[in-house]
């Protein structure tokens, strides 16, 4: 069994309206020191497999096809064997 921890984030060049909104809220609450907020996803996927290479390939496919939008997002992941 493998656990993939996947991070999906907006590309640097893409505006993050959710982050802008959170920054605005923080400023209203008095946190003027907050200069930027960017919001992404952290996804854990458990994969039943005893082959690391195959599990890695599957996670990559899942990220490309389902979990990220390649036009505006990028992803990276860590793979860890679990009991």
């Amino acid at each position: 069994m493998y656990k993939a921890t996947i991070f999906v984030t907006l590309k640097e060049s893409v505006l993050d309206p959710q982050g802008v909104a959170v920054k605005g809220s923080l400023h209203s609450l008095g946190y003027a020191e907050v200069k930027d907020v960017r919001i992404g996803k952290r996804i854990e996927v458990l994969i039943e497999s005893d082959n690391r290479r195959k599990a890695e390939q599957q996670v990559r496919e899942i990220c490309e096809k389902v979990l990220s939008n390649p036009v505006i997002e990028q992803f990276r992941f860590e793979l860890e064997e679990v009991a």
Copy 2:
């Protein structure tokens, strides 16, 4: 300037309907090996500060008050000095 990378995740005991939905989609697409999916947030916050201790305290406050719902979520963060 400090960059905080914050991870907000649902507590272990809390059902993650978004994760369940993604797992279902992956199964429909033929990824039967996927045993579990949990979805959380990865948030980057830039803080204008030259005092690490103070920046850390602020990030903790922001996480508790704004970025997480303490009833169902937990958070952790890493703080890194940036130029």
